[in-house]
């Protein structure tokens, strides 16, 4: 009896949290299937009322829009490149921090943390000026660079924690077995740190994908504008009434890559991969 009660509590708690988290998402999805008229008329139901439904019309509209299509390409390209570069750099830096003794190690770590704490907004102005002077305003690199520098600290900290967990002996064993330092790193350390690498990759990708401030202030045209910024510029046929339902469809489309990515990488983040390396 007591067990059932406990279970009931757990189920109830989980349900509450799920509703709390997923309601906005569900509402956006619901909105994206309503017609523009239904939204302006103030149709409050969760499911589109009869006649108020738009079917896939909003989605086709969004996907047919050139601006939006370009911004999806921009977002995917910029986020992926920033993630890739950031993870590669962070892996090397974190390895050095975890394994090597060098002067200024503490300095590197604290500086990284300080950068992470910097308010993003305070850098927008200077970057805007610098980028225009350097000629990378409104280009992919103009966004990739700030994304990298803001995600590197977190990636370095996460990864160096992972590297520290890997026993020194693994590497020494590899060296005795005939590996160069680089081979030991690539064939033994990186595979073992894979969960950490994927965690860092996901965090970096999130940051880059969801960023709005840089996206809107360092771009001026479709050429480099990422999705979050593009959505805010999205005005349909009538500039005076924002097409809420089409925007909702756009938001859903923008969310899909993140969901797919998490589901895909979740399998890779297997805790306890190092189990069995050494006697515990």
């Amino acid at each position: 009896m007591k067990n059932l009660k406990g279970n009931l509590g757990t189920i109830l708690g989980c349900a509450l949290i799920l509703i709390w988290c997923l309601l906005p998402v569900a509402w956006i999805v619901s909105l994206s299937f309503k017609s523009q008229e239904a939204v302006t008329n103030g149709s409050p139901g969760f499911f589109p009322s009869s006649g108020g439904g738009a079917g896939w019309a909003n989605y086709t509209k969004v996907l047919k829009d050139d601006q939006f299509r370009q911004s999806i390409i921009n977002s995917i390209g910029i986020s992926l490149i920033a993630t890739l570069l950031s993870v590669i750099l962070a892996t090397l830096a974190a390895y050095a921090i975890a394994r090597l003794e060098f002067r200024g190690k503490k300095f590197v770590l604290t500086t990284a943390l300080v950068i992470a704490m910097f308010p993003v907004v305070s850098l927008v102005g200077p970057l805007f000026d610098m980028w225009r002077t350097l000629g990378i305003y409104n280009t992919w690199p103009g966004l990739i660079i700030p994304y990298m520098s803001f995600t590197l600290p977190l990636a370095i900290w996460t990864l160096s924690a992972f590297f520290r967990e890997i026993p020194w002996e693994m590497e020494q064993a590899a060296q005795v077995d005939g590996a160069t330092s680089w081979q030991a790193f690539r064939k033994v350390i990186v595979p073992l740190a894979a969960p950490g690498v994927f965690t860092a990759a996901i965090l970096t990708f999130f940051f880059a994908w969801n960023d709005f401030v840089f996206g809107i202030s360092l771009t001026s045209t479709d050429k480099a504008r990422p999705i979050p910024a593009a959505l805010s510029f999205f005005v349909g046929d009538d500039p005076f009434s924002r097409p809420a339902s089409v925007l909702a469809a756009g938001a859903v489309v923008a969310t899909i890559p993140i969901v797919v990515l998490v589901l895909f990488f979740q399998r890779k983040i297997v805790a306890g991969l190092t189990a069995g390396a050494v006697k515990g």
Binding site: L192, L273, A277, V278
Partner: protein, 387 residues
């Protein structure tokens, strides 16, 4: 296969403390050498200097006649078994064993032949496709050995390979290692803190203390002719008994009485004041089990047995005695150095299983002073070495 020569090897850490101090050892081709000592004696550091994981502060390390001080581990062609095995958890047993060969860019066909051969030797055939996480401690240990024997290394190095196994498995693996080494005939250096492993496995044993080589000899010589108090106390279980002693007129005076001493031993120790006598538990016997006529009645004494441990084939009896504070301090220091603890001054004697000596009773014991060693208490040197 190769010889390993260590010439005046010194390892100093940043604070100037010498972890290994002026150690010279020659390991012959095919020899099984044991490095043994209490924790922190520098034995593992020395091993890691052989393999190249630690820099050598000064001295020369020669493997197969070639100076390797400045060679990276991968260029020394040695194979090592780590204390915690250090298997690659993301690779199968097969790939773990094949790892050194893959690095050396062997052909797949040759790798397969070598891995199968090693796995057969170590009885790992049915585990080849499993991951290390799914193996038992003993199996992981065998995989680590497989990775070591698969390539034709110049020497094997073992860093306390059995200390993570339970007692029974340890015994089995010890025999297995001995058999493997004899079969392959490869020069082996083996680090352990366990004196039983040292005595049973090694052709020669190097006993170390605080970075200094104490004695390098065969197990029998270490046991019978220890050069100093430390070696005498470290080798043997239960350990050698140390008693305050003075030698005068060919007789030795112990806390239990005065006994005749062989002339050669007496000559070297007479008139040197207070000495430390070392005598192993098996050199005592219960008088009642010694045949009539074989008993030398000048070498018997009455003892009060405190505790008795009956082990089936033999039994240990404990005889407490009072000692002067100075002697007690020295015994404590000795015990501390060899990682053990002496709570009280007592004599451990090994008696024949047939002895009916009871606990908390008085018994007459025989002491074989022929086998006794006498040590200088200040320097710890054995004054009767070789006698």
């Amino acid at each position: 296969m190769a010889t390993i020569e260590m010439k005046n090897i010194v390892k100093k850490y940043g604070d100037g403390f010498p972890a290994v101090n002026d150690v010279s050892i020659d390991v012959a081709d095919g020899e099984f050498l044991i490095l043994v000592g209490p924790s922190g004696c520098g034995k593992s550091t020395l091993l890691r200097m052989i393999v190249g994981l630690e820099d050598i502060t000064s001295g020369d390390m020669l493997i197969g006649g070639e100076r390797v001080n400045d060679l990276a581990p991968r260029d020394r062609n040695l194979s090592m078994v780590f204390q915690n095995y250090a298997l690659y958890p993301h690779l199968t047993v097969y790939e773990n064993i094949a790892f050194p060969l893959r690095l050396a860019k062997w052909k797949d066909k040759d790798i397969d032949a070598k891995v199968r051969e090693a796995s057969k030797t170590l009885d790992l055939d049915e585990h080849l496709e499993r991951k290390p996480a799914n193996l038992s401690g003993g199996q992981r240990q065998r995989v680590a050995m497989g990775r070591a024997i698969v390539r034709d290394a110049k020497a094997f190095l073992f860093d306390e390979p059995l200390s993570n196994l339970d007692a029974k498995l340890r015994g089995q693996m010890r025999t297995e290692i001995a058999r493997l080494q004899k079969k392959l005939g490869i020069t082996t250096v083996y680090v352990t803190h366990d004196q039983t492993e040292a005595m049973t496995l090694g052709d020669r044993v190097a006993v170390m203390k605080r970075g200094i080589l104490q004695q390098l000899a065969t197990p029998r010589e270490l046991y019978e002719q220890p050069v100093n108090l430390f070696v005498a106390g470290f080798i043997g279980s239960p350990p050698m008994n140390f008693l305050p002693a003075t030698v005068e007129n060919g007789e030795v005076t112990l806390p239990f009485g005065t006994f005749p001493l062989p002339a050669d031993k007496a000559a070297k120790t007479e008139g040197k004041g207070l000495l430390m006598a070392g005598i192993r538990p098996e050199h005592f016997e219960d008088v009642s089990v010694i045949e009539e006529g074989k008993l030398d009645s000048t070498r018997t004494f009455a003892a009060h047995i405190d505790v008795r441990e009956w082990l089936g084939d033999q039994q240990y009896a404990y005889v407490p005695y009072e000692a002067e504070a100075k002697v007690q301090d020295q015994l404590k220091e000795l015990a501390r150095e060899s990682d053990s603890d002496s709570l009280r001054t007592q004599l451990v004697v090994s008696l024949d299983a047939a002895s009916s000596a009871a606990e908390d009773s008085d018994t007459t014991l025989f002491i074989d002073t022929d086998k006794m060693h006498l040590f200088d208490p200040a320097s710890g040197d054995n004054l009767t070495v070789g006698l």
